[in-house]
Subunit: 338 residues, 4 copies
């Protein structure tokens, strides 16, 4: 941490900061520049609230030097992690993992049909929501346990791993019973109690970035899970909130090289939520693979015009199959397979 | 809902949309403009996923007409609601409610001292965190139930209502036992299970806006609580995420007139979280009152330079007392008292 | 400037950075922390592109220490500047300056009527656009020189200083001939050639913040003007682009205390552009004054429903007069007058 | 345009809106919904300020139906435009156009060396700045006309078309004399006088999106150019301002399919400005091609660690050459060549 003093500070002001730093058990190091004095605080202070020093007289601001995350960082684990999804599928290796399926589980017919078709097109896992986090309390909230049973049945018929969202600590046991991968959605990325509960299971967790979370907050959320003993975390980017209105969310693909540099965890892209429009999904799926994504999670519905949720961003099984063909052409350019 | 067709659509394309609208039990109304055809869907469709129609051929986009919220809206309850906070204090009436106290409860001495001082300066309620939602798992997480007991003790000594945050459904009963007002923080505004659990208690809920939530999402979160039977909801703005870096959050005070127009619920402003810097807190508190806020929630710490959390944005009891004096001058200009 | 090395860098990596710093004529200072090494570069390097060092091996990132602005800063001029607007009016002193008038000059009758009414209500200056920066080329573009003449006529009749926008370097002489204050709009804050041309005149410049400019960029734009010899710069905040949709722009009033801390230049708030909705203008005007603004610039139109531009955000002369009354009540709380 | 009335409006309120619509020469069409009444205004009203109606009693808001842009739209020109860049190169056809070169022209040796190397690697055009729009007035401002001459010399030696930025209307003639393509930068996208001046030349214009411009504003800026008679406009996305801090700008690649749907103009991506970090440039270049971009504009410097500007985001000629190899593998997947 670097404390930047204001211009014109006195020696006493600097000494006051030095004393605050020492009280925290850290070593101080004063540098007098031509215009400003800065005081470096040396030592691991991730657990301290250094911000309090900002309130000292003549302090301009605090500049953190160390990244706040540890166990999710590349410094701790230099090699990329390959995370199992169940049913033999993995994320983070040479093969790009493709997770596909409907936004919501609506019926047995729907989910089995989609599962078979995405399997035939080359998907590695089936997504589908049984518990739906709906902004609007009047919207369809999902089939609940019945939906989980249908997903498990689809797995039995296709061999696809099942990825499904859970929204609350009291759903963890039930969802873990049926699913291979527990999805924590964007609205719950900062639901720390849920993160910790998922960290106590033996299921892989797919963690979506909060729609205005920073990269550091995203990795710290992963650390909440890992610190409970569960190392199997997959990161997922699903778009952020910006001023843009031609998309429902802005999909920042530069997070892929950023995560590769900062973390050993794999990163999966959601082009469906990440744009909100089905016509953009193929282009952004291709872009994600070309940018080095470890996987994709795509909404596929047999009849998007009659979908109960997210019809506007779902593609059909035929569109999905065409998309997979083009991904197979792109993957070798980044030394991957699909 | 208005369906805007793309330019050059055929009569069959329009008929296809008409049919989709009718299938949803709604009435259609086609308007042919000079360049574009639009189809209005008439009827209450808050519970339907109209977005699916976007996937129909030659549909450009959907334009919602009705606001998605109901029971929080001014249409349903034209009169402003006055919400009890406990201990005789209310929010939403002529008197502006001031909630003040430390970010975290750290010790009996700290919380009692602050409570007495903010009470003396004219505060209506005491804030203080026992369970802290920390982005960083290595940061101080709060004193838990011990902190709640200290808050209750401070209430006994001062008569101030106690406002404190809860983060998870398994904390609801415990927090409701000690606190007058349950605070749901910005990170949990979309934690629907927590909203519903708070809605089943008889405690007033102070609901903070998610840092990138829209106004509609904010009011819908309030409806999750109200729909469970708890009408006592106080809205709280605490700043949004933007590109600005001289603040920790951008505090959008125009939400005050917007909420007054759209909703009957009172709105309270948090200038501490809303800026992240103690030196900005007095100016933004005054601005909030002048803009018509129903209340303020302010972080006050006896020794901000040694605060365990949020020291950088806490003001001292003396600064708080001076601030209250200036608020008393401003309030009459907006026909309020402090 | 601080260069933060990546974890695991070698002594040679650090020496390479030291050499780059020395080549730039700066002094280096290496600090070895527990996890990271940082290298401080000491000396005034505002004119150097230190970013290039980021490309050196094992460099993580650069952290600037000095603010990039100088002559606009409080370090250079500790006392607040009082800027003349012409016709005896000033901005930055005890009296809050109120600039009011129509978005566009539409006719002699309109502009004279508004000028007389805002003068009667207590305004210090008249705003009105003769050259309009329109996003849409098909929109009304202003009356041009004819509009300038009408503004000058309104000044003659009322004694109000005239504030009007110029958009291009070839308009500078003409606008300076008629106007007291040259307004540079949000879309031109980064039009450096226009800033420099305005800096060569003897007219005061009202500089609006770009709708996504940082505070540093805003002050640097002011320095472009000041460095040409024109010290009379008034800063104006008119709202930023965010995800919010209930406003046309988000008005970040915390910039007022921030500017007061960083700069000696006065800051004026535009609640009309800053919200986009007339119903919000009174509340945000009051809030701006309570937050310490040095002035307001408000759109007033005799018949907003028939305004050629910005009717949605204009208030009537009667509403303006009521607003001025309430501002007179608030100003004393911040030791100001209106 | 749709006028949405507030709930509880009277027949007189609706009639008042109908009258305002008729006064504007438009046809009205009233639809009474179950909760709300809306009034459609039929006719082409791109040149009218309909916003004024918002100020009428009981009007909730205005919803535009028609896109504001015309000549840049796909409705007017259904076929994609292929735009000449000079020297035989084009943008918008099957071949993806690659524009590469240094941020600033620094010396003859530098620009000739880069030109030869990017030519050898397969680039179609040379970029290089002679006039630099610098946020900071103390930064290097470019070599001016001397730089233009060096660019022209590099063209003579390599046959590459020259793309360079102009910042002011008084530079148009000079830059047009030396350059093949006039670049208008992000800071000037709303400098309408400059857009119109460029529209009067016979040079192709590369128009960068303002860093917080909407898609509609971007296309309207193109229309300012086209309406002056110059149809040769290339759109360029270079990243937007968001809350993200691991990039200098957030690069929203979904604008590629959006532009393809809305406009006939080609779209080029700038991954250098679009991220701000050289290590991200290859990944984002590949992603742009996979998403369907018509071209790339990339900063290449022979010695980024000593670049006078933008060293942190420049790649070396060797890195550029490797990148081109991988683009050649990806392009066929989207039916393109490089």
């Amino acid at each position: 941490m670097i404390v930047v003093m204001r211009s014109g500070c006195s020696k006493a002001d600097v000494q006051h900061v030095v004393k605050l730093i020492q009280e925290l058990g850290l070593k101080d190091h004063v540098i007098e520049g031509t215009d400003r004095t800065v005081v470096a605080a040396i030592g691991d202070k991730r657990h301290l609230d250094m911000g309090a020093i900002e309130n000292a007289p003549m302090v301009d601001r605090m500049v953190p030097i160390l990244a706040p995350y540890k166990v999710a960082s590349r410094e701790v684990s230099p090699e990329p992690s390959v995370i199992p999804m169940g049913q033999g599928a993995t994320v983070g290796g040479k093969k790009i993992a493709v997770i596909a399926g409907p936004c919501s589980v609506e019926s047995e017919k729907q989910v089995i049909e989609v599962a078979q078709k995405v399997k035939a097109a080359g998907a590695d896992a089936l997504r589908g929501g049984a518990f739906k986090p709906r902004t609007n309390p009047y919207d369809f909230q999902g089939l609940g346990e019945e939906g989980l049973k249908l997903l498990a049945k689809a797995r039995d018929e296709t061999g696809l791993a099942v990825v499904t969202e859970l929204m609350s600590i009291d759903q963890v046991d039930m969802v873990a019973e049926y699913a291979d991968v527990l999805q924590i959605g964007t609205r719950n990325m900062h639901n720390f109690n849920l993160l910790m509960a998922a960290g106590k299971t033996d299921r892989t967790v797919l963690l979506k970035r909060g729609w205005s979370a920073t990269l550091a907050e995203f990795l710290l959320a992963a650390e909440y899970i890992i610190n409970e003993g569960n190392k199997n975390v997959i990161l997922c980017e699903r778009g952020i909130r910006t001023h843009e209105s031609y998309v429902r969310n802005t999909l920042p693909l530069a997070i892929i090289p950023a995560i590769k540099r900062e973390s050993h965890l794999p990163i999966v892209i959601d082009p469906s939520q990440g744009t909100g429009h089905s016509y953009m999904v193929p282009a952004m799926s291709r872009a994600a693979v070309a940018a080095g994504a470890d996987g994709l999670i795509i909404e596929v519905h047999p009849d998007p015009q009659h979908a109960l949720t997210d019809g506007g961003q779902s593609i059909t099984p035929d569109q999905f199959s065409d998309l997979m063909d083009s991904l197979r052409q792109i993957a070798p350019a980044v030394d991957r397979t699909v």
